[in-house]
């Protein structure tokens, strides 16, 4: 009897605890009359810093939260640059003139004027923000910035190039009346440090559980916010939270593609070939590979389709030897193809007795891919030792050139103009230590690639630049200074009935991190 009593007591405690659940906020699910969604809930749980230009963490999710509150002059949509706080702009050589919207306001009701923009430029010159398209120190992009009227601002740059317009239009505007007296923005976190002119106002931030809340700014001048509230809530398992209705959009594991793609209630938004893996060769350590035939044999040795099938679960493609992935408007299908040919590879490496080290990160899929590459290379007669370290160590080693072969994976391949071709391949721009994704082949030089990579950067005509990119890819695919392994497509899933406005820009495929995903865009959405 006593044993039964103890069991019953334990069960009672358990049920009592489960009864502690608070009554849910019913209001969250009701539809407001202004056409907005009551709340959009996304996976949070990580402290990405306080959402202002100086306090957010230097990562995409931290930057995106700051972008909801603070607005820039321009924004990107599916086609290209569109006005945000600026209603129009024009370029005359190195001089850019932006005309602001007359009804632009900060969240405290103060008007946003050209003086605020000019102040922001000078403030950023002195105190660079975390996400900083303008550069810092001697390489600060803007030579002079002046307000030439209440709503007109003129910026003169040292040298205009293809990226200048979006750099000038991409920085977040600070309210002068708040920041002019702030001497240390890195430690300024008063309530007015979160007043911007974006579509959403700051409401709440809890660093401990990584939760954020933003509420719609009714006086926003450049469109209509799509939700009354945006909430980032702590989530342990994203998919479980999505299935339980705790969040409205979630990353989808590749294995569940079949299940969700056939569900009419579920919408999917792809990041097409956005995650790419490349194999860097340190030619100073392995000068043998300066021989193009060995690099071709390297490609022939690797069953890259196996990486797509086994690691990406079929969601992706074998990498283009020209680097920019299929699906990008810049992609050149005429790049040289290197099919899997293990016999040819074996013949090429026969008798050489090559032994290499392969550096990889121990996170994500890196080790799995490295092990597959190892099997292929060993089958071709190359001895491989995989060295896996945590990402920070791997980053440091790649940046310092302390590797033989290195596997590097990162996102962002599929969206933006492949300006990264310059930072990876140009002899002038590569290996400047910006991170492993910007590191190119060490000990390999190519005047032809460098010339094309630099030329595209200077070209401001869109079509001519696309053509230059295509020539550059063709040249890279002929010389193959590194091996492009594969690119992965990933998906986010959402409930269409709740909200269907998720979008990708022509520049960026992370729907959850695009400002326009949170705007009511009518037909455009």
């Amino acid at each position: 009897m006593r044993q039964k009593g103890i069991c019953l007591l334990l069960a009672a405690i358990f049920l009592l605890l489960s009864a502690c659940a608070p009554a849910q906020q019913e209001g969250q699910k009701t539809q407001p009359e202004n056409g907005r969604v009551a709340a959009l809930r996304l996976a949070g749980g990580t402290d990405w810093g306080a959402p202002n230009p100086y306090l957010h963490a230097a990562r995409g999710p931290g930057n995106a939260k700051k972008d909801l509150i603070f607005a820039s002059l321009l924004e990107m949509d599916e086609q290209g640059p569109v006005g945000w706080m600026a209603k129009s702009w024009q370029q005359d050589g190195n001089v850019y003139t932006f005309t602001l919207r007359e009804d632009a306001k900060f969240h405290d009701g103060e008007p946003l004027t050209a003086e605020d923009v000019a102040f922001t430029v000078e403030y950023y010159r002195k105190f660079p923000p975390v996400s900083n398209p303008l550069g810092a120190g001697d390489s600060f992009l803007i030579e002079r910035c002046e307000a030439v009227g209440e709503h007109t601002v003129r910026m003169t740059v040292r040298q205009a190039d293809a990226d200048t317009l979006m750099a000038l239009g991409g920085f977040e505007i600070l309210p002068e009346h708040i920041w002019r007296d702030v001497d240390d923005p890195m430690s300024y976190s008063e309530a007015d440090a979160f007043i911007g002119s974006g579509a959403y106002q700051f409401s709440a931030y809890n660093g401990a559980d990584g939760s954020y809340e933003f509420i719609a700014f009714d006086d926003f001048c450049a469109g209509e916010p799509a939700a009354e509230k945006i909430q980032f809530v702590p989530v342990g398992d994203e998919l479980l939270a999505f299935q339980n209705g705790e969040i409205d959009i979630a990353s989808m594991p590749g294995d569940l593609y079949g299940q969700y793609s056939n569900d009419p209630e579920i919408g999917m938004i792809a990041k097409e070939n956005d995650m790419g893996y490349k194999l860097l060769i340190n030619f100073e350590k392995y000068p043998e590979f300066l021989d193009i035939q060995l690099r071709q044999a390297l490609y022939a040795a690797l069953d890259r389709q196996a990486v797509v099938d086994k690691v990406f679960r079929g969601l992706g493609t074998v990498g283009s030897a020209g680097y920019a992935p299929a699906g990008s408007i810049y992609y050149n299908p005429a790049c040289v193809q290197y099919p899997y040919d293990p016999q040819a590879a074996k013949a090429a490496f026969a008798g050489m007795g090559l032994e290499v080290t392969l550096l990889a990160a121990n996170s994500g899929d890196d080790v799995k891919i490295a092990e597959l590459l190892k099997l292929d290379l060993e089958a071709a007669g190359i001895g491989v030792e995989v060295q896996a370290y945590d990402s920070a160590v791997r980053d440091g080693m790649v940046n310092a050139g302390e590797y033989g072969f290195a596997l590097v994976g990162n996102g962002g391949w599929g969206g933006r103009a492949p300006a990264y071709l310059r930072t990876v391949f140009s002899d002038i721009a590569k290996n400047q230590g910006g991170g492993p994704h910007n590191m190119g082949p060490i000990g390999y030089s190519s005047p032809a690639i460098t010339e094309l990579a630099e030329a595209q950067q200077q070209e401001t005509d869109f079509q001519k630049r696309v053509e230059l990119f295509k020539q550059l890819q063709r040249q890279i695919s002929e010389e193959i200074p590194l091996v492009v392994v594969a690119t992965q497509t990933s998906y986010s899933i959402y409930r269409k009935a709740h909200y269907d406005g998720w979008m990708k820009t022509c520049d960026y495929q992370q729907a959850e991190q695009n400002r326009l995903s949170y705007m009511n865009r009518g037909e455009a959405s």
Binding site: S18, Q25, P128, L240, A361, S363
Partner: protein, 321 residues
């Protein structure tokens, strides 16, 4: 005890120095780590010029010895520096998180101590129940905390929906009373506490069982039984009371395990706390945050060890006296 206190102070000093130098000697750079983790985009990096400005701002451009003295001075003034990743004072970041972790750790310790002792007390005079409990606790002792956590997450929270999947309290909920807030916190912490407690209870069970079995052989117990005292009274007043010193010591020594366990549990349940902060601080090479976090753990462990020794010495004194 003075000697023991001195030993612990020396241990603390060694840990303090290691906390400062080891992260800085590890490969990696808090400013150079630029979203290159697989799955992350390649934006968000600092330019070389900006990196140098930030290096100077955080004092990372100074010689290591100078940085150490500056940090020591700061710490002696009660400051822990600025977190490079979270971009806020380390003390603030720790204070935001410490109550959550301390609650889960404290509650898990109390629950596991109570459960382990109660089970041992209940079984100690019942051979069949003892065999069953021994088996159950042996299995529990071998289960990794994260596995227990994941199982509870998927079945009890996910499938049955009795408890929330994550977080320390319902986000953005406006409570009508303090009791409502406390109930919500209790509801959210139930599974993290249970996970941690299930991992620690076997330790208490085995310690208590061994102590109780020793107490059973003592002559005073025979006397108590001969007096015809109630079984419960014998268990509580004679067996439990005379077995307390090793259990107290075990409780204080378990603080270290609880500190380690929270890292896993907080990650499984996305529960706010110091464990998650530690993982992030190490991944991002946030030196001041790593130092602050380890400093807190080291202080907690040294204090709990000292308390264990103090109580042990007192008990010993009583016995000798």
């Amino acid at each position: 005890m003075k000697r023991r206190a001195l030993q612990l102070v020396c241990v603390f000093i060694v840990i303090y120095a290691a906390n400062f130098f080891l992260p800085r000697l590890m490969p990696g750079d808090p400013l150079q780590y630029t979203s290159a983790v697989s799955g992350e985009d390649m934006d968000g990096g600092y330019s070389a010029e900006q990196r140098e400005m930030l290096r100077s701002y955080y004092g990372l451009d100074r010689p290591l010895g100078e940085q150490f003295l500056k940090t020591l001075g700061q710490n002696l003034r009660g400051e822990l520096g600025e977190s490079i990743f979270y971009k806020k004072p380390v003390s603030q970041a720790l204070l935001e998180r410490a109550p959550w972790s301390l609650w889960v750790m404290g509650a898990a310790l109390a629950v596991s101590l109570a459960a382990g002792c109660a089970a041992a007390l209940w079984c100690v005079q019942k051979p069949r129940a003892d065999r069953a409990a021994y088996l159950v606790f042996s299995v529990l002792a071998e289960l990794p905390a994260f596995l227990t956590g994941v199982l509870l997450l998927f079945f009890v929270a996910g499938r049955l929906g009795w408890f929330p999947l994550s977080g320390g309290m319902t986000p953005f909920l406006e409570y009508t009373s303090v009791w409502g807030a406390l109930a919500d916190i209790l509801w959210h912490s139930a599974l993290p506490i249970l996970t941690l407690a299930l991992g620690m209870a076997p330790g208490f069970f085995f310690t208590a069982r061994a102590s109780f079995l020793t107490a059973l052989e003592k002559p005073f117990l025979l006397g108590a039984q001969a007096k015809g005292l109630a079984r419960m009274r014998i268990r509580l007043q004679y067996i439990l009371r005379n077995s307390l010193p090793p259990l107290r010591a075990k409780a204080f020594l378990s603080v270290g395990r609880a500190v380690g366990g929270t890292v896993l549990v907080e990650n499984v349940f996305a529960y706010p706390g110091l464990g998650k902060a530690l993982r992030e601080a190490v991944a991002y090479r946030d030196y001041p945050m790593i130092q602050g976090r380890f400093l807190l753990s080291a202080a907690l462990l040294c204090i709990s060890l000292f308390c264990a020794d103090l109580l042990g010495a007192k008990a010993e004194g009583r016995e000798l006296g």
